[in-house]
Amino acid sequence: MQLTVKYFGIIADFTQKKETFLPLDASIDTIEKLLCYLQELYPEIKNVTFSIALNEKLISKNEALIDGDEIALLPPFAGG
Protein backbone atom coordinates (compact mmCIF):
# COMPACT_ATOMS: atom_id res chain seq x y z
CA MET A 1 0.00 0.00 0.00
CA GLN A 2 2.10 2.87 -1.27
CA LEU A 3 1.92 6.31 -2.90
CA THR A 4 4.51 7.97 -5.10
CA VAL A 5 4.87 11.74 -4.84
CA LYS A 6 6.84 13.59 -7.51
CA TYR A 7 8.23 17.08 -7.06
CA PHE A 8 8.98 19.58 -9.80
CA GLY A 9 10.53 23.02 -10.16
CA ILE A 10 10.85 25.15 -7.05
CA ILE A 11 9.09 22.48 -4.95
CA ALA A 12 11.88 19.98 -5.68
CA ASP A 13 14.31 22.74 -4.62
CA PHE A 14 12.60 22.76 -1.21
CA THR A 15 12.23 18.99 -0.80
CA GLN A 16 15.75 18.38 -2.11
CA LYS A 17 14.48 15.29 -3.87
CA LYS A 18 12.55 14.51 -7.03
CA GLU A 19 10.26 11.88 -5.59
CA THR A 20 9.28 10.14 -2.42
CA PHE A 21 7.29 7.02 -1.48
CA LEU A 22 4.73 7.25 1.31
CA PRO A 23 2.65 4.55 2.98
CA LEU A 24 -1.04 4.79 2.17
CA ASP A 25 -3.01 4.74 5.43
CA ALA A 26 -5.87 6.55 7.15
CA SER A 27 -3.64 9.54 7.91
CA ILE A 28 -2.90 10.04 4.20
CA ASP A 29 -5.75 8.74 2.09
CA THR A 30 -6.86 11.91 0.30
CA ILE A 31 -5.09 14.66 -1.65
CA GLU A 32 -5.98 17.13 1.09
CA LYS A 33 -4.42 15.02 3.84
CA LEU A 34 -1.35 14.42 1.72
CA LEU A 35 -0.89 18.17 1.24
CA CYS A 36 -1.24 18.82 4.97
CA TYR A 37 1.40 16.19 5.65
CA LEU A 38 3.79 17.65 3.05
CA GLN A 39 3.26 21.23 4.22
CA GLU A 40 4.19 20.19 7.73
CA LEU A 41 7.29 18.44 6.45
CA TYR A 42 8.26 21.27 4.07
CA PRO A 43 6.75 24.53 5.41
CA GLU A 44 8.19 26.49 2.45
CA ILE A 45 5.71 24.98 0.04
CA LYS A 46 2.87 26.79 1.83
CA ASN A 47 4.06 29.92 0.01
CA VAL A 48 4.25 28.28 -3.39
CA THR A 49 1.50 28.04 -5.97
CA PHE A 50 1.27 24.70 -7.71
CA SER A 51 -1.11 22.48 -9.61
CA ILE A 52 -1.59 18.82 -8.75
CA ALA A 53 -1.67 15.84 -11.05
CA LEU A 54 -3.01 12.44 -10.02
CA ASN A 55 -1.78 9.57 -12.19
CA GLU A 56 -0.55 12.02 -14.84
CA LYS A 57 -3.80 13.96 -15.05
CA LEU A 58 -4.35 17.43 -13.61
CA ILE A 59 -7.01 17.54 -10.88
CA SER A 60 -8.80 20.56 -9.47
CA LYS A 61 -10.43 19.19 -6.30
CA ASN A 62 -9.78 16.85 -3.40
CA GLU A 63 -9.74 13.14 -4.34
CA ALA A 64 -9.41 9.87 -2.48
CA LEU A 65 -6.11 8.06 -2.92
CA ILE A 66 -5.65 4.36 -3.57
CA ASP A 67 -2.69 2.00 -3.59
CA GLY A 68 -0.18 2.76 -6.34
CA ASP A 69 -1.37 6.33 -7.00
CA GLU A 70 1.20 8.78 -8.31
CA ILE A 71 0.82 12.41 -7.29
CA ALA A 72 2.84 15.20 -8.95
CA LEU A 73 3.22 18.71 -7.56
CA LEU A 74 3.64 21.11 -10.48
CA PRO A 75 4.56 24.73 -9.83
CA PRO A 76 4.65 27.15 -12.77
CA PHE A 77 8.13 27.91 -14.11
CA ALA A 78 8.91 31.52 -14.85
CA GLY A 79 12.27 31.23 -16.62
CA GLY A 80 12.81 31.62 -20.33
Partner: protein, 350 residues
Protein backbone atom coordinates in the same frame (compact mmCIF):
# COMPACT_ATOMS: atom_id res chain seq x y z
CA UNK B 1 14.55 25.89 -53.12
CA UNK B 2 17.75 23.89 -52.61
CA UNK B 3 17.89 25.38 -49.14
CA UNK B 4 14.76 23.43 -48.11
CA UNK B 5 15.21 20.25 -50.17
CA UNK B 6 15.86 18.03 -47.15
CA UNK B 7 12.52 18.93 -45.58
CA UNK B 8 10.60 19.11 -48.86
CA UNK B 9 11.79 15.51 -49.36
CA UNK B 10 9.60 14.52 -46.40
CA UNK B 11 6.28 13.30 -47.75
CA UNK B 12 4.50 15.04 -44.84
CA UNK B 13 5.87 18.40 -46.03
CA UNK B 14 6.64 18.51 -49.75
CA UNK B 15 6.47 21.75 -51.76
CA UNK B 16 2.92 22.29 -50.53
CA UNK B 17 4.07 22.24 -46.90
CA UNK B 18 7.01 24.50 -47.68
CA UNK B 19 4.56 26.96 -49.21
CA UNK B 20 2.54 26.89 -45.97
CA UNK B 21 5.70 27.72 -44.02
CA UNK B 22 6.48 30.57 -46.40
CA UNK B 23 3.01 32.05 -45.83
CA UNK B 24 3.04 31.71 -42.03
CA UNK B 25 3.33 34.69 -39.67
CA UNK B 26 4.48 33.93 -36.15
CA UNK B 27 5.25 36.18 -33.20
CA UNK B 28 8.13 35.26 -30.89
CA UNK B 29 7.85 37.04 -27.54
CA UNK B 30 11.20 37.05 -25.76
CA UNK B 31 14.57 36.71 -27.51
CA UNK B 32 16.37 35.05 -24.60
CA UNK B 33 17.17 31.45 -23.73
CA UNK B 34 14.08 30.01 -25.42
CA UNK B 35 13.71 32.73 -28.05
CA UNK B 36 17.19 32.24 -29.54
CA UNK B 37 16.75 28.59 -30.63
CA UNK B 38 13.14 29.21 -31.65
CA UNK B 39 14.14 32.14 -33.87
CA UNK B 40 17.12 30.34 -35.37
CA UNK B 41 15.19 27.22 -36.29
CA UNK B 42 12.01 28.85 -37.52
CA UNK B 43 14.09 31.16 -39.70
CA UNK B 44 16.13 28.27 -41.05
CA UNK B 45 12.93 26.32 -41.81
CA UNK B 46 11.78 29.19 -44.05
CA UNK B 47 8.92 30.77 -42.13
CA UNK B 48 7.48 33.67 -44.10
CA UNK B 49 7.30 36.32 -41.42
CA UNK B 50 8.63 36.32 -37.87
CA UNK B 51 7.93 39.07 -35.35
CA UNK B 52 10.39 39.46 -32.46
CA UNK B 53 9.48 41.25 -29.22
CA UNK B 54 12.10 42.02 -26.56
CA UNK B 55 13.12 45.19 -24.75
CA UNK B 56 16.42 43.91 -23.37
CA UNK B 57 20.03 44.54 -24.29
CA UNK B 58 22.50 41.67 -24.61
CA UNK B 59 24.34 41.04 -21.32
CA UNK B 60 27.44 39.00 -20.68
CA UNK B 61 25.46 36.66 -18.41
CA UNK B 62 23.22 35.73 -21.38
CA UNK B 63 26.06 34.19 -23.36
CA UNK B 64 26.10 30.76 -21.67
CA UNK B 65 22.78 29.89 -23.31
CA UNK B 66 21.72 32.57 -25.81
CA UNK B 67 24.07 31.46 -28.55
CA UNK B 68 22.77 33.93 -31.16
CA UNK B 69 24.75 36.61 -29.34
CA UNK B 70 28.50 37.20 -29.16
CA UNK B 71 30.85 39.18 -26.95
CA UNK B 72 30.71 42.03 -29.47
CA UNK B 73 26.95 42.32 -29.01
CA UNK B 74 26.99 43.13 -25.30
CA UNK B 75 24.98 46.29 -24.71
CA UNK B 76 23.15 46.12 -28.05
CA UNK B 77 19.37 45.53 -28.30
CA UNK B 78 18.65 41.81 -28.53
CA UNK B 79 16.02 42.27 -31.23
CA UNK B 80 18.53 44.07 -33.46
CA UNK B 81 21.34 41.55 -33.02
CA UNK B 82 18.96 38.60 -33.35
CA UNK B 83 17.35 39.92 -36.52
CA UNK B 84 20.72 40.60 -38.16
CA UNK B 85 21.98 37.13 -37.25
CA UNK B 86 18.97 35.21 -38.50
CA UNK B 87 18.71 37.27 -41.68
CA UNK B 88 22.30 36.32 -42.37
CA UNK B 89 21.34 32.67 -41.95
CA UNK B 90 18.23 33.01 -44.14
CA UNK B 91 17.85 36.23 -46.15
CA UNK B 92 14.56 34.99 -47.64
CA UNK B 93 12.43 35.58 -44.56
CA UNK B 94 10.69 38.76 -43.40
CA UNK B 95 11.13 40.10 -39.89
CA UNK B 96 9.20 42.58 -37.77
CA UNK B 97 11.10 43.89 -34.80
CA UNK B 98 9.54 45.29 -31.62
CA UNK B 99 12.09 46.62 -29.14
CA UNK B 100 9.76 46.81 -26.18
CA UNK B 101 8.15 44.66 -23.54
CA UNK B 102 4.85 42.96 -24.37
CA UNK B 103 2.39 44.95 -22.27
CA UNK B 104 -1.35 45.43 -21.94
CA UNK B 105 -0.97 48.72 -23.81
CA UNK B 106 0.80 47.37 -26.90
CA UNK B 107 -0.24 43.68 -26.88
CA UNK B 108 -3.00 43.81 -29.47
CA UNK B 109 -1.22 46.38 -31.62
CA UNK B 110 1.68 43.96 -31.92
CA UNK B 111 -0.04 40.54 -31.98
CA UNK B 112 -2.93 41.28 -34.34
CA UNK B 113 -2.33 39.62 -37.69
CA UNK B 114 -0.06 36.79 -36.53
CA UNK B 115 -1.07 33.12 -36.84
CA UNK B 116 0.69 31.84 -33.71
CA UNK B 117 2.20 33.42 -30.58
CA UNK B 118 5.30 31.73 -29.20
CA UNK B 119 5.81 32.36 -25.49
CA UNK B 120 9.54 32.62 -24.80
CA UNK B 121 9.15 35.12 -21.96
CA UNK B 122 10.73 34.95 -18.52
CA UNK B 123 7.84 36.04 -16.33
CA UNK B 124 4.34 34.94 -15.40
CA UNK B 125 2.65 38.29 -15.96
CA UNK B 126 3.60 38.16 -19.65
CA UNK B 127 2.47 34.52 -19.89
CA UNK B 128 -1.05 35.32 -18.61
CA UNK B 129 -1.20 38.32 -20.94
CA UNK B 130 -0.15 36.21 -23.95
CA UNK B 131 -2.77 33.62 -23.00
CA UNK B 132 -5.55 36.20 -22.83
CA UNK B 133 -4.50 37.94 -26.06
CA UNK B 134 -4.31 34.59 -27.90
CA UNK B 135 -7.85 33.77 -26.71
CA UNK B 136 -9.27 37.01 -28.11
CA UNK B 137 -7.36 36.65 -31.39
CA UNK B 138 -8.31 32.93 -31.60
CA UNK B 139 -4.74 31.82 -32.27
CA UNK B 140 -2.64 29.15 -30.55
CA UNK B 141 0.01 29.96 -27.94
CA UNK B 142 3.06 27.72 -27.98
CA UNK B 143 4.29 27.81 -24.40
CA UNK B 144 7.58 26.83 -22.82
CA UNK B 145 9.42 27.77 -19.66
CA UNK B 146 12.47 26.58 -17.77
CA UNK B 147 13.73 26.23 -14.21
CA UNK B 148 17.27 25.04 -13.38
CA UNK B 149 17.48 21.65 -15.14
CA UNK B 150 13.78 21.33 -16.04
CA UNK B 151 11.56 22.57 -18.82
CA UNK B 152 7.81 22.70 -19.46
CA UNK B 153 6.14 22.70 -22.87
CA UNK B 154 2.56 22.83 -24.10
CA UNK B 155 0.36 24.28 -26.83
CA UNK B 156 -2.57 26.30 -25.54
CA UNK B 157 -5.76 27.53 -27.17
CA UNK B 158 -5.22 25.16 -30.09
CA UNK B 159 -8.55 24.33 -31.77
CA UNK B 160 -10.43 25.42 -28.63
CA UNK B 161 -8.18 23.28 -26.42
CA UNK B 162 -7.10 24.05 -22.84
CA UNK B 163 -5.32 27.30 -22.00
CA UNK B 164 -2.46 28.35 -19.73
CA UNK B 165 -5.06 29.30 -17.10
CA UNK B 166 -6.41 25.71 -17.18
CA UNK B 167 -2.94 24.57 -16.11
CA UNK B 168 -2.26 27.39 -13.66
CA UNK B 169 -5.32 29.39 -12.59
CA UNK B 170 -4.07 32.86 -11.69
CA UNK B 171 -3.49 33.61 -8.03
CA UNK B 172 -2.37 36.33 -5.66
CA UNK B 173 1.21 35.07 -5.47
CA UNK B 174 1.86 36.11 -9.04
CA UNK B 175 4.46 38.73 -8.22
CA UNK B 176 6.33 36.54 -5.75
CA UNK B 177 6.64 33.86 -8.41
CA UNK B 178 7.37 36.20 -11.19
CA UNK B 179 11.13 36.25 -11.30
CA UNK B 180 13.23 33.15 -11.58
CA UNK B 181 16.78 33.93 -10.53
CA UNK B 182 17.64 30.39 -9.49
CA UNK B 183 19.85 29.78 -12.52
CA UNK B 184 19.55 27.45 -15.47
CA UNK B 185 21.78 24.97 -17.25
CA UNK B 186 22.78 26.72 -20.48
CA UNK B 187 21.80 23.89 -22.78
CA UNK B 188 18.36 23.41 -21.19
CA UNK B 189 16.38 26.31 -22.76
CA UNK B 190 17.87 25.29 -26.09
CA UNK B 191 16.55 21.73 -25.72
CA UNK B 192 13.10 23.05 -24.82
CA UNK B 193 13.17 25.85 -27.43
CA UNK B 194 13.78 23.32 -30.16
CA UNK B 195 10.80 21.25 -28.99
CA UNK B 196 8.80 24.49 -29.00
CA UNK B 197 9.86 25.26 -32.59
CA UNK B 198 8.88 21.70 -33.55
CA UNK B 199 5.33 22.28 -32.26
CA UNK B 200 5.14 25.53 -34.25
CA UNK B 201 6.13 23.74 -37.46
CA UNK B 202 3.59 20.94 -36.81
CA UNK B 203 0.78 23.46 -36.28
CA UNK B 204 1.60 25.33 -39.50
CA UNK B 205 2.03 22.15 -41.52
CA UNK B 206 -0.97 20.40 -39.97
CA UNK B 207 1.01 17.22 -39.33
CA UNK B 208 1.49 14.89 -36.38
CA UNK B 209 -0.33 15.40 -33.09
CA UNK B 210 0.07 18.81 -31.52
CA UNK B 211 0.93 18.96 -27.79
CA UNK B 212 -2.48 20.39 -26.88
CA UNK B 213 -4.16 19.37 -23.62
CA UNK B 214 -0.87 17.99 -22.36
CA UNK B 215 2.04 19.39 -20.41
CA UNK B 216 5.41 17.93 -21.30
CA UNK B 217 8.00 18.12 -18.52
CA UNK B 218 11.62 17.43 -19.33
CA UNK B 219 14.16 16.83 -16.59
CA UNK B 220 17.71 17.17 -17.90
CA UNK B 221 19.32 15.64 -14.81
CA UNK B 222 17.47 12.33 -15.04
CA UNK B 223 16.96 12.52 -18.84
CA UNK B 224 13.27 11.83 -18.21
CA UNK B 225 10.23 13.16 -19.99
CA UNK B 226 6.80 13.07 -18.40
CA UNK B 227 3.49 14.12 -19.89
CA UNK B 228 0.57 15.34 -17.79
CA UNK B 229 -2.96 15.56 -19.16
CA UNK B 230 -4.55 19.04 -18.80
CA UNK B 231 -8.37 19.00 -18.87
CA UNK B 232 -10.08 22.09 -20.17
CA UNK B 233 -11.39 24.32 -17.40
CA UNK B 234 -14.28 26.33 -18.84
CA UNK B 235 -14.23 28.91 -16.06
CA UNK B 236 -10.50 29.52 -16.45
CA UNK B 237 -10.89 29.89 -20.22
CA UNK B 238 -13.71 32.35 -19.74
CA UNK B 239 -11.71 34.34 -17.18
CA UNK B 240 -8.86 34.72 -19.68
CA UNK B 241 -11.15 35.62 -22.54
CA UNK B 242 -12.98 38.28 -20.54
CA UNK B 243 -9.74 39.84 -19.37
CA UNK B 244 -8.41 39.77 -22.94
CA UNK B 245 -11.51 41.51 -24.26
CA UNK B 246 -11.23 44.12 -21.51
CA UNK B 247 -7.57 44.79 -22.33
CA UNK B 248 -8.43 45.02 -26.01
CA UNK B 249 -11.20 47.54 -25.41
CA UNK B 250 -9.15 49.66 -23.04
CA UNK B 251 -6.25 49.84 -25.45
CA UNK B 252 -7.76 49.89 -28.91
CA UNK B 253 -6.26 53.26 -29.19
CA UNK B 254 -8.15 56.15 -30.38
CA UNK B 255 -5.53 58.34 -32.03
CA UNK B 256 -4.12 60.70 -29.43
CA UNK B 257 -3.85 64.35 -30.32
CA UNK B 258 -1.98 67.32 -28.89
CA UNK B 259 -3.37 70.81 -28.60
CA UNK B 260 -1.83 73.85 -30.25
CA UNK B 261 -0.34 74.98 -26.94
CA UNK B 262 1.15 71.58 -26.09
CA UNK B 263 2.56 71.34 -29.58
CA UNK B 264 4.39 74.64 -29.16
CA UNK B 265 5.69 73.44 -25.81
CA UNK B 266 7.07 70.23 -27.30
CA UNK B 267 9.06 72.23 -29.84
CA UNK B 268 11.51 72.77 -26.97
CA UNK B 269 11.55 69.16 -25.74
CA UNK B 270 14.55 67.26 -27.08
CA UNK B 271 13.27 63.85 -26.00
CA UNK B 272 10.26 64.10 -28.33
CA UNK B 273 10.53 63.52 -32.04
CA UNK B 274 8.42 65.98 -33.98
CA UNK B 275 7.79 64.93 -37.53
CA UNK B 276 6.55 67.11 -40.38
CA UNK B 277 4.94 64.73 -42.88
CA UNK B 278 5.15 67.19 -45.80
CA UNK B 279 6.74 66.07 -49.07
CA UNK B 280 10.36 67.18 -49.31
CA UNK B 281 9.60 69.59 -52.18
CA UNK B 282 6.88 71.35 -50.20
CA UNK B 283 7.73 74.45 -48.24
CA UNK B 284 7.80 74.04 -44.45
CA UNK B 285 4.91 75.81 -42.74
CA UNK B 286 6.76 75.92 -39.45
CA UNK B 287 10.42 75.52 -38.58
CA UNK B 288 12.17 74.57 -35.38
CA UNK B 289 15.39 72.82 -34.47
CA UNK B 290 13.83 69.52 -33.46
CA UNK B 291 11.35 69.19 -36.32
CA UNK B 292 12.34 66.59 -38.86
CA UNK B 293 10.78 66.25 -42.27
CA UNK B 294 9.79 62.65 -43.03
CA UNK B 295 7.30 62.09 -45.88
CA UNK B 296 4.66 59.55 -44.95
CA UNK B 297 6.02 56.78 -47.19
CA UNK B 298 9.39 56.95 -45.43
CA UNK B 299 7.99 57.09 -41.91
CA UNK B 300 8.35 53.43 -40.98
CA UNK B 301 11.91 53.28 -42.24
CA UNK B 302 12.84 56.43 -40.38
CA UNK B 303 11.41 55.18 -37.08
CA UNK B 304 13.12 51.80 -37.27
CA UNK B 305 16.01 53.00 -35.12
CA UNK B 306 13.70 54.14 -32.30
CA UNK B 307 12.03 52.21 -29.51
CA UNK B 308 8.30 51.57 -29.68
CA UNK B 309 7.70 53.76 -26.64
CA UNK B 310 9.50 56.76 -28.12
CA UNK B 311 7.32 59.87 -27.88
CA UNK B 312 6.46 61.00 -31.38
CA UNK B 313 4.35 63.94 -32.54
CA UNK B 314 3.23 63.94 -36.15
CA UNK B 315 1.88 66.89 -38.04
CA UNK B 316 0.86 67.85 -41.55
CA UNK B 317 -0.95 70.78 -43.09
CA UNK B 318 -4.56 69.95 -42.11
CA UNK B 319 -4.23 67.02 -39.69
CA UNK B 320 -5.65 64.30 -41.92
CA UNK B 321 -2.37 62.69 -42.99
CA UNK B 322 -0.98 62.89 -39.45
CA UNK B 323 -4.15 61.23 -38.13
CA UNK B 324 -3.75 58.33 -40.54
CA UNK B 325 -0.05 57.99 -39.82
CA UNK B 326 -0.62 58.01 -36.04
CA UNK B 327 -3.29 55.34 -36.42
CA UNK B 328 -0.89 53.25 -38.47
CA UNK B 329 1.95 53.60 -35.97
CA UNK B 330 -0.40 52.63 -33.11
CA UNK B 331 -1.22 49.45 -34.97
CA UNK B 332 2.49 48.79 -35.45
CA UNK B 333 2.92 48.79 -31.68
CA UNK B 334 4.16 52.34 -31.09
CA UNK B 335 2.69 53.39 -27.77
CA UNK B 336 3.33 57.11 -27.53
CA UNK B 337 2.27 58.65 -30.82
CA UNK B 338 0.40 61.96 -31.00
CA UNK B 339 -0.75 64.13 -33.86
CA UNK B 340 -1.53 67.80 -34.15
CA UNK B 341 -5.27 68.03 -34.64
CA UNK B 342 -6.30 70.14 -37.64
CA UNK B 343 -2.65 70.48 -38.66
CA UNK B 344 -0.29 73.43 -38.86
CA UNK B 345 -3.06 75.43 -40.45
CA UNK B 346 -4.42 76.01 -36.92
CA UNK B 347 -1.07 77.38 -35.76
CA UNK B 348 -0.79 79.88 -38.53
CA UNK B 349 -4.35 81.19 -38.13
CA UNK B 350 -3.54 82.18 -34.53
Amino acid sequence: MKRYEKQIALSEIGTHGQQKLAEAKVLVIGAGGLGCPVLQHLAAAGLGCIGIVDADLVQESNLNRQVLYTVNDIGKPKVMVASEAILKQNPEIKLAVYQCNFTEENAFGIADGYDIIIDCTDNLIARYLINDVALVLKIPMVYASVHRFEGQLSVFNYELGPTYRCLFPENENLNALNCDDSGVLGVLPNTIGILQATEVLKIILGIGSVLSGKLLIYDGLSAQIQTIEIPKNALAVQHGLLRGIDIHQRNSQAVKSVSKIDFMRFLHDDSTIIIDLKETYEEAAIQAENIVNVPIDQLENYLEKYRKDQKIILFCRFGNQSFQAANYLNKKGYTSVFHLENGVATLIQK
